[in-house]
């Protein structure tokens, strides 16, 4: 409107149904259009990096569970990889495969949650959420079977994993994998061909590939923009170099592409899991590591393709049992860098969908 209207500030959050936690988005509006967006975070800041400097390397593993509390296994894995790199520890083959299995199950659980909450943002009244929770629940049951915890697993340890899988794990996992393709087809039937979802999410929140790369986006956000980049392929860790899978990439970089990429990653994870369960070798699952590990002075940066993007741990050791510096490169936080460019010019409903398609977890944003 050429009408001189007062700029209108809408605070989405810190307590808002669609921010997945305590996240605040200050939107300056001109009528229904967003002219400026500013994110305010820190409501869940626990100063994990400082706390970790006072604890030993092993004691820090539980902290990582609380980062992205929807994918604790991946966080454990990234941290333990960093410590192993720092201390030069080799993990036995079975441990590597168990890590892949757990990480991929965690990816399915996380993407189920991400897709479901994206659909919730689009206004579906809980149906996809509940459907996806059904499978997520079974995956959490598998975790419980293995390590006794469902969310904050603390399962991957320095030098391997904390427990070998119990005998009932294999049949349960195989049964789940057998029904997963059918379930994924159900989700696709419910969501992918839905005209309203198409209308809501296509050409909304477009992230150009150049901007995506320049602003350090990673994970499905980067791949949704059409960038073929996946650390599992680019810098294979654990046992990924022995497994066969494809990388889904989007075409336009809009919300719908990010959603499609996640949807396809569900299928690819099932594929990886089937291979990994078949190839799971015998032998020890972990090596013994002293409780008060003293890595030599130096630094290490290890990264994995966590469900939300590139999760990296940068550790600096001064030879003591505590890390000198413990830095988390958290994908949720860094994926928010292009948020402003994505939402300016949209309306509030589109901004909410865009935020939902980035898939943040506030525990990881604030740390």
């Amino acid at each position: 409107m050429t009408m001189k209207s007062e700029p209108f500030v809408v605070n989405v959050g810190p307590q808002h149904p669609s921010t997945h936690g305590v996240f605040r988005l200050r939107l300056t509006m001109d009528g229904e259009k967003i002219v400026d967006a500013e994110m305010v975070v820190g409501y869940l800041h626990r100063s994990m990096e400082k706390l970790a400097e006072g604890r030993t390397y092993t004691q820090n593993i539980p902290f990582t569970d609380r980062l992205d509390y929807l994918s604790a296994m991946s966080n454990n894995l990234a941290y333990c990889m960093a410590v192993e790199k720092l201390a030069g520890i080799d993990v036995p083959e079975r441990g590597q495969f168990l890590r892949v299995i757990m990480a991929e199950f965690q990816r399915i659980a996380n993407h189920a949650m991400a897709i479901a909450s994206f659909a919730m943002e689009c206004g579906v009244w809980f149906t996809p959420l509940m459907w996806m929770f059904r499978e997520r629940e079974k995956i959490l049951d598998l975790f419980e079977m293995t390590c006794g915890a469902r969310l904050t697993t603390n399962y991957v340890r320095i030098g391997g994993v904390s427990f070998d899988i119990p005998p009932e794990f294999m049949p349960a996992a195989r049964a789940l994998l057998k029904e997963m393709p059918e379930r994924i087809a159900e989700y696709e039937a419910l969501l992918m061909e839905n005209e309203i979802i198409l209308a809501r999410s296509r050409d909304v929140g477009v992230l150009q590939p150049d901007l995506a790369i320049a602003s350090s986006a990673s994970g499905p956000v980067l791949r949704g923009s059409g960038v073929m980049w996946d650390i599992r392929k680019a810098d294979p860790y654990a046992a990924y170099d022995r497994l066969e899978f494809d990388i889904p990439v989007g075409t336009c970089g809009d919300c719908y592409d990010r959603f499609l990429v996640r949807m396809e990653e569900l299928r690819q994870s099932v594929r990886i899991l089937e291979q990994a369960l078949d190839m799971l070798p015998d032998g020890p699952a972990s090596v013994n590591v002293p409780l008060a590990l003293r890595p030599p002075a130096g630094e290490a940066y290890a990264r994995i393709e966590a469900p939300k993007g590139e999760l990296g741990f940068y550790l600096v050791s001064d030879g003591s049992p505590h890390p000198h510096r413990f830095h988390i490169r958290s994908p949720s936080y860094i994926n928010l860098t292009p948020l402003r460019d994505m939402v300016v010019g949209l309306t509030v409903p589109d901004a909410v969908i865009t935020l939902g398609s980035i898939d943040i977890v506030l525990g990881e944003v604030d740390r």
């Binding site: 800041h45 100063s47 990096e49 350090s216 810098d235 294979p236 940068y314």
Partner: protein
């Protein structure tokens, strides 16, 4: 497999293009002079052979007498990594140039480093605290920050409120 580039070799290349930029080079990393940082970063990004288009991470490390800002660079094609560092020698008032103009991805990460470490990034478009609120005493990730100064204890009521 992502290849970690040899810091010595890269340091040599940087030194050829931009003299006096490299302070120290080891096989793991290259340390450049803060004054030349933006120039070096632009070179690393735009050089067709190096092609470091992706800034993976930015963080600062408190080495008790000085601060070190660490940049993890990633190139998609060819697939290789580099650890770039720069040092802010003034421990009380560290300042390095901001790389937001080179990589947009540095924006939030530099804000985080400023908030928690107190490293000022000169030229950053919006250098404010991000996790802690304006008025928080000090920068808690510094090694000399041991507790809340002045007998303060955590809790919002004791601190100046935002705006």
């Amino acid at each position: 497999m992502s290849q970690l580039l040899d810091g010595l070799e890269i340091g040599e290349r940087i030194g050829k293009r931009i003299p006096e930029a490299v302070v120290e080079a080891t096989p793991q990393w290259v340390v450049v002079h803060p004054q030349k940082l933006v120039e070096v970063a632009t070179y690393l990004r735009d050089d067709s052979e190096l092609n470091f288009r992706f800034l993976s991470g930015v963080t600062a490390v408190d080495h008790l007498d000085h601060f070190e800002v660490v940049y993890h660079l990633q190139s998609f094609s060819p697939n290789h990594m580099l650890t770039l560092k720069t040092r802010a020698l003034d421990h009380d008032n560290p300042e390095v140039p901001s790389l937001v103009s080179v990589w947009r991805g540095a924006e939030l990460q530099e804000r985080e480093a400023y908030d928690l470490m107190g490293v000022r990034f000169a030229g950053h478009p919006d250098l404010r605290r991000v996790f802690l609120w304006e008025g928080f005493p000090g920068h808690p990730l510094r090694k000399d920050w041991l507790e809340m100064p002045g007998g303060l204890s955590p809790g919002l009521g004791r601190f100046p409120r935002e705006d």
